[in-house]
């Protein structure tokens, strides 16, 4: 077969560095972080990406598929540029995360799980973020915490992100 597909070199460089954290004979240990590098670069994880990673790490593709479908931070479908993950677990729920979620649905004019037409925002509910003492909390794109949320602070966040796109 001569139809080679390759990752961007910035991605493979990161994967290669990460691989060094594990014993040489255990390439599968780097699947989890490699998927994140790929997702960070390409926005989401397509079947093609998973096949390519399996090939790159010399593993059976099913091993990569199993992992990619298990952990909740991976996107197996295209998502917006900003994925807003509102925590819905108990501490945030007690502090009013549900009305906030509805507020965002209205503000963005989408339902939970959907992406705005302009491709900017995807709205998700996530489980406990360990931000319970600063509830309600959310993460933007998985790792940027925004805490002590109010409808006003959410509006400002969304507006700022939108504005940032226009300039």
């Amino acid at each position: 077969m001569n139809n080679k597909r390759e990752f961007d070199s910035s991605v493979t460089k990161k994967i290669d560095t990460w691989k060094k954290k594990f014993p040489k004979e255990k390439p599968e240990s780097s699947i989890i972080m490699s998927l994140r590098f790929i997702q960070d670069h390409y926005g989401w994880l397509s079947d093609k990406h998973l096949d390519m990673l399996a090939d790159y790490l010399d593993l059976a593709p099913i091993r990569v598929y199993e992992v990619a479908s298990f952990y909740s931070m991976y996107h197996r479908k295209p998502v917006g540029k900003y994925v807003l993950g509102i925590c819905g677990s108990i501490s945030c729920m007690l502090r009013g995360s549900e009305p906030l979620l509805h507020h965002l649905e209205t503000k963005l004019d989408i339902k939970l799980g959907d992406t705005t037409k302009d491709g900017l925002f995807t709205l998700k509910e996530v489980e406990c973020l360990a931000s319970c003492t600063k509830a309600p909390a959310m993460v933007v794109n998985g790792t940027q915490y925004v805490e002590d949320l109010t409808p006003e602070s959410l509006d400002k966040l969304v507006d700022n992100l939108r504005q940032g796109e226009q300039t």
């Binding site: 014993p23 699947i31 298990f70």
Partner: protein, 425 residues
């Protein structure tokens, strides 16, 4: 009340996470003592046992005893794993150690690893903790530069490689054998025990998994002495504990306080009840632990034995406070939805039972409940409890059982009338 004596002891300093700050507080002195042979590995274990340190992740297993399960003189690779997956709802404590006192965690890991003969240690952080990961990486770099971590440390021939890694979103990774599977790059499915990690752990090698707070406590215990540490707490619960107080309190926050502190004092630290409402109920140790009615909690003390006496447990120290406006049916549904989302799916009772419980609760909330559903919830919980590979089964069952035990009337009311007894129509 004295706060921040152990894991959070750098927090009041100017630049709490820096190497210099930590050194100023006598940091790395124990590690150096150990390296220079002024202290023996067995001394470390004895001290930790004497200090009465128990696993701070939730299970409360004596840390010293756990460390002694590994035969340090046995040939071959051994591993230490630090469980920084902090995911138990209501718990938000370890991330601050990593943000503001990472060196103490590094020293704690180095000491624990050397004590058990492990030359490699992984610090596994949950996927969202990029800030914490970077802070740990920065500290690690400093420690390596100072020659305290790496190969042939300070010329002693002792090696310790510390490796920070980060997950991708799965509560179950917090279960120690699921964490090992995850480090191996697999789906985080807890392993059947025996064999225990001390015999068959990461990559099949002897391994110990400890919680962040437990490991970060070790340098202070050894520096100030086990007696000092033990005396901070009660007879049965040595030392301090970090509590993250969330929910309906005026000033939610994280507090490192002595074991045995009365709950009402902790509540006061958190600014008292939000809007001065009544305290209806408290989950004292993260959402997997049993809920306790407020009036009982107000007379309880925060220690292993104190929480046991009110029918719950200190767990991870995630104190979730609910005021009298809280609908217990809604609260339980929220807790159970979490477990349904996070079940790994391998054991039949957990995979099927969490879904069943949640479907039932959703139907009750939708006004489609039946009075029989209340008993059914308890029955399903009982059928999950004790029948799964890991403790997740109990983590699902206990909230159901305790919520209904204490607030059955609210559940029955919802089933009968189709709306919340607390919130009305």
């Amino acid at each position: 009340m004295k706060q921040n004596l152990v894991c959070y002891r750098t927090f009041e300093e100017k630049s709490p996470s820096s190497f210099e700050t930590y050194k100023k507080l006598n940091g790395y002195s124990t590690w150096e003592k150990l390296l220079k042979g002024k202290m023996k590995p067995s001394d470390v274990i004895d001290a930790i046992k004497a200090a009465g340190l128990m696993g701070r992740g939730g299970a409360g297993f004596p840390t010293g005893l756990k460390m002694s399960f590994i035969n340090r003189d046995k040939e071959g690779q051994k591993y230490l794993v630090c469980n920084s997956d902090e995911s138990e709802p209501g718990t938000s404590k370890d991330r601050f150690i990593m943000q503001k006192n990472p060196h103490q965690l590094i020293e704690g890991m180095a000491i624990a690893a050397y004590t058990m003969g492990a030359t490699v240690g992984y610090n596994y952080m949950r996927g969202e903790f990029m800030t914490e990961f970077e802070s740990c990486e920065k500290a690690l770099k400093e420690a390596k530069k100072a020659g305290l971590i790496g190969k042939n440390i300070l010329g002693t021939g002792i090696d310790f490689e510390l490796i920070n890694i980060i997950g991708a979103g799965a509560y179950i990774v917090g279960e120690e054998t699921a964490m090992l599977e995850s480090i191996e790059g697999k789906r985080a499915m807890p392993r059947f025990k025996p064999p225990f990690p001390a015999n068959y752990g990461l990559y099949g090698k002897p391994t110990t998994v400890n919680n962040t707070e437990s490991l970060a406590s070790i340098p202070v215990i050894l520096d100030k002495g086990p007696e000092w540490f033990k005396k901070l707490g009660t007879e049965k619960s040595g030392g301090t504990k970090i509590f993250s107080v969330s929910g309906h309190v005026a000033k939610p926050g994280v507090f490192e306080i002595p074991m045995g502190t009365p709950f009402k004092d902790l509540l006061e630290l958190a600014g008292g009840m939000l809007d001065s409402r009544g305290c209806k109920a408290v989950i004292p140790g993260g959402s997997s632990m049993k809920i306790v009615p407020g009036k009982i909690m107000l007379n309880a003390e925060m220690s292993y034995e104190g929480m046991q006496s009110v029918g719950s447990a200190i767990g991870s120290g995630g104190v979730i406070v609910m005021d009298d406006r809280t609908c217990m049916v809604e609260a339980l549904a929220c807790v159970i939805k979490f477990y349904e989302d996070e079940s790994c799916g391998q054991c039949t009772p957990c995979r099927e039972g969490t879904n069943w419980l949640h479907q039932n609760l959703r139907d009750i909330l939708a006004g489609k409940g039946n009075i029989k559903d209340v008993d059914l919830l308890v029955e399903i919980a009982g059928k999950i409890e004790g029948k799964t590979i890991c403790a997740f089964g109990e983590a699902v069952a206990w909230p159901v059982q305790s919520f209904i035990e204490h607030f059955r009337d609210e559940f029955e009311f919802y089933c009968k009338n189709g709306y919340s007894k607390v919130k009305g129509k």
